[in-house]
Symmetry: C2
Subunit: 499 residues, 2 copies
Amino acid sequence: MSTEIEKDFLEYVKKMENFSEARSLMFWDLRTGAPRKGVEQRSEVIGTLSTEIFNMSTSDQMKEYIEALSESADVSEITRKTVEECKKNYDRNKKIPEKEYKEYVILESKSEAVWEQAKAKSDFAMFQPYLEKIVETKKRFLDYWGYEGHKYNTLLDDYEPGITVDILDEVFGNLRKELVPLVQAVKDSSQQPRTDFLFEHFPKEKQRQLSLEILNNLGYDFESGRLDETVHPFAISLNPNDVRVTTKYDEKDFRTAIFGTIHECGHAVYEQNISKDLIGTPLCDGTSMGIHESQSLFFENMIGRHPSFWKANYPLLQKHSNGQFDNVSLEDFYRAINVAGPSLIRIEADEMTYALHVIVRYEIEKGLFSDEIEVKDLPQIWNDKMEEYLGVRPTNDAEGVLQDVHWSGGAFGYFPSYALGYIYSAQMKAAMDKDLPNYGELLAENNIQPIKEWLTKNVHQYGKMKKPVEILKDITGEGINSSYLVNYLRKKYGEIYQF
Amino acid sequence: MSTEIEKDFLEYVKKMENFSEARSLMFWDLRTGAPRKGVEQRSEVIGTLSTEIFNMSTSDQMKEYIEALSESADVSEITRKTVEECKKNYDRNKKIPEKEYKEYVILESKSEAVWEQAKAKSDFAMFQPYLEKIVETKKRFLDYWGYEGHKYNTLLDDYEPGITVDILDEVFGNLRKELVPLVQAVKDSSQQPRTDFLFEHFPKEKQRQLSLEILNNLGYDFESGRLDETVHPFAISLNPNDVRVTTKYDEKDFRTAIFGTIHECGHAVYEQNISKDLIGTPLCDGTSMGIHESQSLFFENMIGRHPSFWKANYPLLQKHSNGQFDNVSLEDFYRAINVAGPSLIRIEADEMTYALHVIVRYEIEKGLFSDEIEVKDLPQIWNDKMEEYLGVRPTNDAEGVLQDVHWSGGAFGYFPSYALGYIYSAQMKAAMDKDLPNYGELLAENNIQPIKEWLTKNVHQYGKMKKPVEILKDITGEGINSSYLVNYLRKKYGEIYQF
């Protein structure tokens, strides 16, 4: 009995996943070269597929499957976790009255348009009424969804299952305490790296060749992927056998393409190495935003900004460039690509300061949902926090509270996962060092294989079969702990800036 | 009342078209660079979408729409023709018992695999039992579908609505009578063009640049399309605002890319200029295989092999090539790209002999479905006809009866549309000459606009709103008439081969 319905359920879920793969390909195509005039009709097609997927995920049929299989003991582990995912999604979508949800979708799209204008004019007042409405609606939705402890916990759970305000308060609190003086020390150092040689003309086609070679050196599988050019770099998984990356070429700053490529490579290698047994289920995906980011950041920083990696790859860079590094020592190059310091814009921040940008946003979001902060006060609070944590103060809202799109789309709870990615990656690196004490040598030989295998064994293969906290616990034996990140940063930047 | 159901019906049809656009993009992607390992899962996704479209086209809901709207007087013209299309499709799919259809699909896929092996071994006997079964099944299907006059008429109607055996017997009969002596005259001429200079090394990237410029000169809209490289060139329409072309580069023969590109450009310009009012309906497509082919052939031959076109574009070709044409006069070049003569393989045939290859196939297909020809006799009949019409005799089945994939997939009735494309294009050209007496001058100035406008006004805009015969009648005032093609070929090749 249970076998028959389990089989039907898996077929049903597979159909949803197949529609989803089709939709993903359309997104990829839209960004990589779809003709301009076709965009409008394409959006309609994406809408049709999205509606179909949504309808299937909230159908009576789905309800029946969930009811029949949730308590069943004799289903496979994959089925059990798939049912869990579907149930979470079903509950989330069904608890909001349809009318309110539709109104919210309209509000969201208006709000994004207004945010764009407000940012261009650097005028928070223009955006304020929309943001107020969005926060208000989200709070009402939270009453429908329910929450344990802090309201914000339910929002966090969307992006990072298992993470709560209690955890973040402690983890981010400790991190902030340690980072603020570190940033100050770097800023005050008299040993600022030379960077002038970074900005010479580096032809796009050469950067592309270099990107391809580096992807290859990093274990990206080109038989399961491809590299294209886009305005904003991204990685997208259609399925583990087709995970594509894109990058952006700036002929006046090669770092955009190279570190962008390495970052996306980390996301892609994660997806390429999820167990093929999970194809056709919603488990065939990174387990959370934070764990995903931990992989891209591991590649970008733990590998791509490690001195040994460049020992192996600096000659490659020199070969492809127009001679801009001919008179630059490896040591000077290493220092230059690790230049750090406070700045106003999150997406331009370095690995040392990045988490502080996130903490500013986390504290504000938490305050909004506990009614301790009002939307109207955001510019002031934002600027004060930036000054306190990073020592820089925005002079207008565009470079302050209006800089990110997230809030205009109601994506509260998203930002923390960026910082968690840094914390996780440092915890993983500390654990990896025990298993691979020759880590630096491996990089110096461009021998990524053991590192990739370690990550696949401990992280990649599971997809959503393990929650983020389980992944971390099984690797490190402990929970989230920001001290590994702090130690890593302090050591690294202490050496570079000599304090 | 009727308005509500009409609206619902159009929504329903639009959803099918949207699924279909998603599927088309997946086909395009598979051929233009999808990673190898992702192909299997991708095929599953295509299967899911195809099943969905098929189910919608044969659903009870569709039946209700057809019944409610077929006789309705107060629906729009677009709705009326859309219902007609849906009804044709519904009837076609519903009349075959499901079990028999499923068996046939399996037979077809087996048969294609066997054909591939049989062709490789040049062994018709291996393929014979499969082909017999396919013909037998198709005959049974024809009893389900019904037919008027000749059984083969129903098969023809799939590709070229309105075309019958009676029409083709007359048209192809006349054509054959005229072409056979023409081919002989060309073969016997002492004035064979020089072609040695065609085969020098022409770098791929240069060919690509040239292809892009020629597409642009031919009025292909790059804001509604793009050019990619594939093993087999094709054009694919996602919707009129997104019609993509591909080409193939042979560095030892630039003609592959250039004439391939021009040919696909003709298909694409057709699709790009279908009225936008038809988007979201099954009418938003070329009206038939034959009319589609008439557009690609118009571009390839009436434009791309016209002396005036090269008057304008020969300098471009010379500029992009590695000097291979530096000492070749425009006149010699023109003669070289119009070299003609009998050959064994249809897809390598020139515009003079092509239709004869089709006529061989037409006569055989007709004989199979009127029980005058048996499958076992095909190699003999094929070779005899080739010798009689083209004066060449295959020495094995691979270069004879096994050369085309069509029959292994049951695509009987398809071949005639290729020859109809030639006939239509010559008829259109004769009509166009009256409206645009300065045709040659326009080409010599690379001024395609008036030609494109003429084709859009008379052919492209209508999509499937007009049947092929209507298109032709409205342009020429008459039905299918092969004498225009004969006159065109006789004049052109008489000049080139001087007889």
